[in-house]
């Protein structure tokens, strides 16, 4: 499970085309990493595929930082 953050980081770097060291737990996708709302939808789609989970719409709305994503993914991956 410890690699969840690293896997999330890799996806974020690829999708948003940002420097890896900017992708910290506290980084906000929109405010710090330059994502728009559609980028965020695509990121969630990529997370769903990477971890083979389904992230419900109401949970997606609460994912604002990299840490939020990691927390939700950890909660959903068995």
């Amino acid at each position: 499970m410890s690699d969840v953050f690293e896997r999330v980081k890799k996806i974020v770097v690829e999708n948003l085309d940002v420097e890896a060291d900017k992708v910290t737990e506290s980084a906000s996708f929109i405010d710090d990493l330059g994502a728009d709302s559609l980028d965020l939808v695509e990121l969630v789609m990529a997370f769903e595929e990477e971890f083979n989970i389904e992230i419900p719409d109401d949970v997606q709305e609460n994912i604002r930082t990299v840490g939020d994503a990691v927390t939700h993914i950890k909660a959903h991956v068995s």
Binding site: L38, V41, E42, M45
Partner: protein, 246 residues
């Protein structure tokens, strides 16, 4: 121009006059076409008449579950993801507003506009990933001009136009276009039975002096589905013989 080889399309309402003409034209342009509707026998006939590969996937658009599963079933039947969605299915429950029951309004909105929302939502995910997609909503001239006795139908068709404009803006950066085609009066079994006097009055309102054909609408659909139309999005293409110039 307008080569759709390698593309896969889903056409709803494909058993009707306009829907079957669209399916045929997409097929002629090289696309694989999944045909959806409620009348399986008629759909099979349409499929048999296609020059290319075709698949029948029945759906009842008044049933949300049936609509939600339609895209998946179409992709499974075709063996490839959908590049083109033509939302053509629609119903009418014509009545003066004074006589229009709540269910007359709700049913028309649900089938015509609600299914457009559901189909678009279920198809867009794959299109976003592939950075390509074509959504084509078949609306109607009356969605823009209004028509007495069709407040529900006009609302649903105007709704499709607004929906398309919003959605088109959301996904334009991902290579997906969304447009509407607004047919005027198209020759069909419905217009065939009109009395001559009514037909003449109708033709008097159409500058080109004749009813449209399903193939006129189909040609517009092939264009909007093509790579050449990549820079056209959020538009409503009026195909009506000049009956309304908007």
């Amino acid at each position: 121009m307008f080569d759709l080889s390698g593309r896969t399309a889903l056409v709803t309402g494909a058993s009707g006059g306009i829907g079957s003409a669209i399916a045929k034209a997409l097929s002629e342009a090289g696309a694989k076409v999944a045909l959806s509707g409620t009348r399986e026998g008629v759909l099979e006939e349409v499929r048999a008449g296609l020059p290319g590969e075709g698949f029948v996937v029945t759906a009842n658009l008044s049933d949300a579950e049936s609509v939600n599963s339609l895209v998946g079933r179409a992709e499974e039947a075709a063996g490839s993801p959908l590049d083109i969605l033509v939302a053509n299915a629609g119903i009418t429950r014509d009545k003066l507003l004074m006589q229009m029951k709540p269910e007359d309004f709700d049913d028309v909105m649900n089938v015509n506009l609600g299914s457009y929302y559901r189909l678009t939502k279920s198809v867009v995910r794959g299109m976003m990933k592939r950075r390509h997609g074509r959504i084509i909503g078949i609306t109607s001239i009356v969605g823009v001009t209004g028509n007495p006795g069709q407040a529900n139908y006009c609302a649903s068709k105007a709704g499709m136009i607004g929906f398309t404009k919003a959605f088109a803006q959301e996904v334009a950066s991902r290579g997906i276009t969304a447009n509407c085609i607004a047919p005027g009066f198209i020759e069909s079994p419905m217009t065939d039975v009109l009395p001559d006097s009514q037909k003449e009055a109708l033709l008097g309102q159409i500058p080109s002096g004749k009813l449209g054909q399903g193939s006129d609408i189909a040609a517009a659909a092939v264009y909007l589905a093509s790579s050449e139309a990549a820079y056209v999005t959020g538009q409503t293409l009026h195909v009506n013989g000049g009956m309304a110039m908007i």
